[in-house]
Amino acid sequence: MKAEKRVTILNRLGLHARPASRFAQTASTFESDIWVEKDGVSVDGKSILEVLTVSCPSGTEITIRAEGPDAREAVETLTGLVTERFGEID
C-alpha cells in the first residue's frame, strides 16, 4: 500500500530538533517505510538526523510518503502532527 500527502510546516522555528524528534519517533511506530521529500530530496522519515538535515523552516512545503501495510494511517498521523504544529505553542 502506498500513500502520500503534501503539507506545509507551520511552526515558527520550522522542523527543528524537538519536532523532528517527535516526527521520527512517531514515524518509527509504523511498519511502513516513510519518507519526507523536500525540493526533490527524499530522506528517511524514521531517522531524526536525516529529517533534521533536510532543514525545513516555517512555510516549507514537504511531501510525506509511506509504503507498507499501514501506509495510509502513517501518512495521516504524520500530516496531523505537522498541521497541529507538533502540539507546540511557539
Binding site: 520550522g14 523532528a20 524528534s21
Partner: protein, 592 residues
C-alpha cells in the same frame, strides 16, 4: 558469556554489575581489526549503545516532576543513538572498513558533520552538539570512562574493573559499595590484592585486557578462589555460582567457628599467630579470626588519605584506639613505610627513577626527621594504653638502627620533660627485608628485641624482581633455595641472641608453607586475618620435629621447582585429604 582466568588475589565469590574505572591514559584508540573479530566488535558496539540507551532511559524515568520537560531532549538523544546514521552506519563501518567500534563512531560523527555543515538553519546546525554528546557517551562506555569521579554516584554495590588501582584509589572504596575487584595489572602481593584480602573482598588480578572485554553495568562473576572472571554469565552458570558462593560462606563460618583453638602442633610446639592490619575497621575481623595480636600494623594510610600530614595528636588518637581495642593482645606498629608502590602523592617531592631502591621507609623517616618525630611521639604516647611494640622497616644495617635508637632516646627524654606518659621499655623490632640485614642479622639482633621477616620485599630485593612487573613476576619465587636459606639464617641468628623471630610477609599466610615455617623454628607468624583460622588448623595437625627434619632436607635442594615439588608431596602425605579439597579452596596450587 566469556570466562577469563588470571591470578586469584583474594578469596571469595562476588556476583554483580561491573563498574569500569578508567585509567587516565585511555583515549580513543583507533585500531584495525581482523576479519574474525568483526562479530565481537559489532557486539561490543551494540552493547555500548544499549548501555547508553539504558542510562538515558533511567535518567528520563528519574527526572523530578519540575524538570520533566527536559525529557524531550533525552528522548531525542535516544533516537539519535538508534538512528540509522549512527547505529547502522557504525555497524557498517566496523564490517566494511574493519575498524574498532571507537573508530567507527569517529567516522560516523565525521559523516554527520559533513551533512550538517550544509544545513543553512543555524539552530539545526547546533544539533550537531547533541549528536556529539551521544556519540561521546558511547565512546565513554567503550573506553570505560565512567571515571572515579562518578564513583560516588554508584548506588548499588559493584564489581570494580580497572587497569590498575593505586593504593590511594582503593582507599576511597567502601566495602558496602564494592563486591569485588578485577585489575589488569598486579599480583597476589601487590597492594590492591593485600587490601582486598584484608577487607574480605574477592579479587582477581593480572587479567590483561579485561577492561576492553566488559562494559559498565554488565553482570560479572569474580571467583577469587580460582582466579576466574565470567562476563555476562548465562542462567545456569549464575545459579551454579550462587550455590558456590553459599558453600564458601558456610565454609568460612565453620573455619571461623574453630578459629580460637590454639596454634599448637601435635608435639606441643606453640607458635604465635598474629594478624596484619592497617585500618581501624579491620579490628573486628582480626578478633573474629582468632588472631593472638597484631604482628604488623601498617601506618601509611593516615598519610595517604589526606593532602596534609597528620598531626601528632591525630596519630596518637588513632594508635590509642587500636591498641586499646585490641588489649591485652600485643600490637606491633610499623613506622612509616612509604615509597615504592605505596607512594603518597604529596609527601615525596622528588620523582625517583627507582623508588623501590630510593628514599623510602626508614631512610625517608631519618631524612624527614620532623615527620618521623611526630610519629614516634604519637606511638610512645599510645604505648601506655596496651601492649604496643615498635617495628622499623627496611633497615639495611647497624648504622641506621643506631640513628633510630638515638632519636628514640631523645624523644623519650623530651616526653619525660613534658610530663607525658609513655612506656620506656617499649619493645623495638627490626623488619628483615633487605638482604644485608639477613647477612648481618647476628649484629642487628643485639640492637633489637625482635625480628620480623618481611618476605615480600626480601624476596623482591634478593631475586631482583619487581613484583608488579608482569614480565618478571613469575620469577618471584618464595621457595627459591636462596630465600629459604635467608629465612633460616635470620631465625638462627636471632635465636642465638635470644630474641624472637617472626614473619609478617605474605608467605606467613600461605597454607602450603606452614610446614616449612614451623620447621624453621619461627616464633610468630603474622598474616592477613582471613588466613588465620586455616593456618592454625594446619599447625594443629603438624608435628614440629618432623617439619624441622623436612626443612633440613629442603635446604639441600637446588632449585625452587624441586622445593615446590617436595613441599606439595609432603603436604599430601602428612595432612588429611580433606585439606586438599577444603583448605586449598582459597588458592590455586599452581599459582604458589
Amino acid at each position: 558469556m566469556e570466562t577469563l582466568k588470571a591470578i586469584a588475589a583474594s578469596p571469595g565469590i562476588a556476583i554483580g554489575p561491573v563498574f569500569l574505572l578508567n585509567a587516565k591514559h585511555i583515549k580513543t584508540i583507533k585500531r584495525k581489526i581482523d576479519k574474525e573479530d568483526v562479530k565481537t566488535e559489532k557486539e561490543r558496539f551494540e552493547r555500548a549503545v544499549s548501555r547508553v540507551e539504558k542510562q538515558l532511559r533511567k535518567l528520563i524515568s528519574e527526572l523530578p516532576e519540575e524538570i520533566k520537560e527536559h525529557s524531550n531532549i533525552l528522548k531525542s538523544h535516544i533516537l539519535m543513538l538508534r538512528d540509522k546514521m549512527v547505529y547502522d552506519k557504525g555497524i557498517g563501518f566496523i564490517e566494511e572498513k574493519r575498524v574498532n567500534a571507537e573508530w567507527a563512531l569517529e567516522l560516523v560523527l565525521n559523516e554527520i558533520k559533513g551533512l550538517f555543515s550544509r544545513v543553512k538553519d543555524e539552530y539545526i546546525r547546533e544539533r550537531l552538539e547533541d549528536i556529539g554528546f551521544v556519540v561521546n557517551k558511547v565512546k565513554a562506555v567503550l573506553a570505560g570512562t565512567e571515571t572515579r569521579l562518578d564513583f560516588s554516584s554508584v548506588e548499588e554495590p559493584v564489581i570494580i574493573v580497572a587497569r590498575n588501582l593505586s593504593p590511594a584509589d582503593t582507599l576511597h572504596i567502601s566495602k558496602e559499595k564494592v563486591l569485588g575487584f578485577v585489575t589488569e595489572l598486579g599480583s597476589r602481593t601487590s597492594h590492591t590484592a593485600i587490601l582486598a584480602r584484608s577487607l574480605g573482598i574477592p579479587a582477581v588480578v593480572g587479567l590483561e585486557g579485561v577492561t576492553s572485554r566488559c562494559l559498565s553495568g554488565e553482570t560479572m562473576i569474580v571467583d577469587g578462589l580460582k582466579g576466574q572472571v565470567i562476563i555476562e554469565p548465562d542462567e545456569a552458570t549464575l545459579s551454579e555460582y550462587r550455590q558456590r558462593q553459599e558453600n564458601y560462606l558456610k565454609y568460612r563460618l565453620e573455619v571461623i567457628h574453630n578459629s580460637n583453638l590454639p596454634a599448637e602442633t601435635t608435639d606441643g610446639y606453640r607458635i604465635k599467630v598474629m594478624a596484619n592490619m592497617e585500618l581501624v575497621e579491620e579490628i573486628p575481623i582480626v578478633i573474629q579470626h582468632g588472631a593472638e595480636g597484631v604482628g604488623l600494623f601498617r601506618t601509611e594510610f593516615l598519610y595517604m588519605t589526606s593532602k596534609t600530614l597528620p598531626t601528632e595528636d591525630q596519630l596518637f588518637l588513632a594508635y590509642k584506639e587500636v591498641v586499646e581495642r585490641l588489649k591485652p593482645h600485643p600490637v606491633t606498629i610499623r613506622t612509616l613505610d612509604i615509597g615504592g608502590d605505596k607512594l603518597a602523592s604529596d609527601l615525596c617531592c622528588e620523582e625517583e627513577i627507582n623508588p623501590a631502591l630510593g628514599l623510602r621507609a626508614i631512610r625517608f623517616c631519618l631524612h624527614e626527621k620532623g615527620l618521623f618525630r611526630a610519629q614516634l611521639r604519637a606511638i610512645l604516647r599510645a604505648s601506655v594504653f596496651g601492649d604496643l611494640r615498635l617495628l622499623f622497616p627496611m633497615v639495611s644495617g647497624k648504622g641506621e638502627m643506631i640513628q633510630v635508637k638515638r632519636l628514640l632516646g631523645q624523644i623519650m627524654d623530651e616526653l619525660e620533660k613534658e610530663g607525658k606518659d609513655f612506656n620506656r621499655d617499649i619493645k623495638t623490632g627490626i623488619m628483615i627485608e633487605v638482604p644485608t640485614a639477613v647477612l648481618t642479622a647476628d649484629i642487628l639482633a643485639r640492637e633489637a628485641d625482635f625480628f620480623s621477616i618481611g618476605t615480600n620485599d626480601l624476596i623482591q630485593y634478593s631475586l631482583a624482581i619487581d613484583r608488579v612487573n608482569e614480565a618478571v613476576c613469575h620469577l618471584y619465587e618464595p621457595l627459591h633455595p636462596g630465600v629459604l636459606r635467608m629465612i633460616k639464617m635470620t631465625v638462627d641468628s636471632g635465636h642465638r641472641e635470644n630474641i624472637e623471630v617472626g614473619m609478617c610477609g605474605e608467605m606467613a599466610g600461605e597454607p602450603l608453607y606452614v610446614p616449612i615455617l614451623l620447621g624453621m623454628g619461627l616464633d610468630e607468624l603474622s598474616m592477613n586475618a582471613m588466613a588465620i583460622p586455616k593456618i592454625k588448623k594446619i599447625i594443629r595437625q603438624s608435628n614440629q620435629e618432623e617439619c624441622a627434619s623436612f626443612v633440613s632436607e629442603l635446604l639441600g635442594l637446588e632449585s625452587a621447582n624441586q622445593v615446590k615439588d617436595k613441599v606439595v608431596e609432603f603436604f599430601r602425605e602428612n595432612y588429611p585429604p580433606d585439606m586438599e579439597t577444603t583448605d586449598f579452596l582459597e588458592f590455586d596450587l599452581s599459582l604458589t
